[in-house]
Symmetry: C2
Subunit: 234 residues, 2 copies
């Protein structure tokens, strides 16, 4: 196993305010893993053996119903924690995590989470802040699902993705990982067909450019208006 350098995690919000020695102590317990695109990092319902930090790549977090339908809860970007079942007082993962591209993660045994939270209070505080932020986030999405129609929800979803994983390119801001119509449908509670129709219409109006697993927002301002539902009849 290769030696891990504290610079790997020194800048991350989860470890903010920790001394170099602490970081080294934490890292000495970590294992770095490569995860190939489309491989699972953990699976919903199984015992939570580890928690993780994403160092590189993009991960989608997915919840599945007993009858196989699923929803994408969120995308994770580098620096974020995932699989922190312990922090939620659980011993199984409440969702699955799948690498959206090739990823690198650090993994720790779950039982260390409680120890870290005690030994390094700011770590505990920071992860709870993360949990709190996610709670808010999901509540906002709920409100969206309850009150807005599909087109607005799709617009919101794309804007959210662009904010956290946007890379500006020639035509506008591109979502920097492969994402299919099906994925967008699972983020917004609709079908790939409806997403496809909506995005084709947007493409005609010049709001977005998109192709196979690839989306670029061209007119983010107009898309925002659409998302907020401030555009009357056409």
């Amino acid at each position: 196993m290769s030696r891990l350098d504290h610079s790997l995690i020194a800048g991350l919000p989860a470890f903010e305010g920790l001394a170099r020695a602490d970081l080294d102590a934490i890292l000495s317990k970590a294992v770095a893993l490569r995860v190939a695109k489309d491989d699972a990092i953990f699976d919903q319902g199984v015992e939570a053996g580890s928690f993780f930090i994403l160092l590189d790549g993009r991960v989608r977090v997915v919840r599945t119903t007993p009858d196989g339908r699923q929803a994408i809860v969120r995308y994770i970007v580098p620096g974020e924690l995932l699989g922190i079942a312990q922090a939620l007082g659980r011993d199984t993962y409440p969702a699955s995590a799948v690498a959206a591209v090739d990823c690198v993660v650090l993994a720790w045994p779950s039982r260390l989470w409680a120890k870290f939270a005690v030994d390094y209070p700011s770590f505990g505080k920071n992860t709870y802040r993360t949990v709190g932020a996610r709670l808010e986030d999901v509540q906002t999405q709920m409100l969206d699902m309850a009150t807005r129609q599909v087109e607005q929800r799709v617009a919101h979803a794309l804007l959210r993705l662009v904010r956290q994983a946007g890379r500006s390119d020639g035509d506008g801001i591109a979502i920097d990982f492969p994402i299919s119509r099906q994925d967008i449908a699972e983020m917004t509670g609709t079908t790939l067909h409806t997403v496809s129709r909506i995005m084709s219409a947007w493409e005609d109006k010049g709001l977005v450019k998109s192709g196979r697993q690839q989306v670029t927002i061209v007119e983010s301002h107009k898309l925002l208006l659409l998302a907020e539902g401030r555009t009357e009849r056409d």
Copy 2:
């Protein structure tokens, strides 16, 4: 201000594992408030001056969109924390809380939350467990909204209410606080009309009995089947 007795909060999950002296210290900082039915305990967006524990009554937590549409995030029953913006790393309330019936709450100044979490680690741990449980909860509801149709969502919502606020009466299990069709609609992301139609149909089949702001589940098993979508054609 009247003296508060530690027995008020001794049994509550949030204060599990604390000594009597700790409870008294905590209580000495608390203020007990009566809140009349339909009065707000706090409002979405305003600075979070206090956090609360519900001692008696039922509270609904509501999120409102800029354009005035709203969704009921959850109902709070006695013993539960509410308004714990601090635990989420926020300084404004992310939702509003309204008394569904006359209520009694204990209130503490928000800044004490961090102090309590440090002085009484199990308090911190317990509240974070609460936040974690709520995160899971909302995610489950999201999945529901994304994958099930209205009738199933309404069934789920009623079963959830019955589980946390059910009182058995002659005909079955009643929801023990007044709840309107509109409320149920706001829990499930639909309209009062649709809720009314669905529940009228259920009433005809003998699954529920309901009236003005009042619902009783008669055949909870059949309702559960409905909620899970295991009932084929009629």
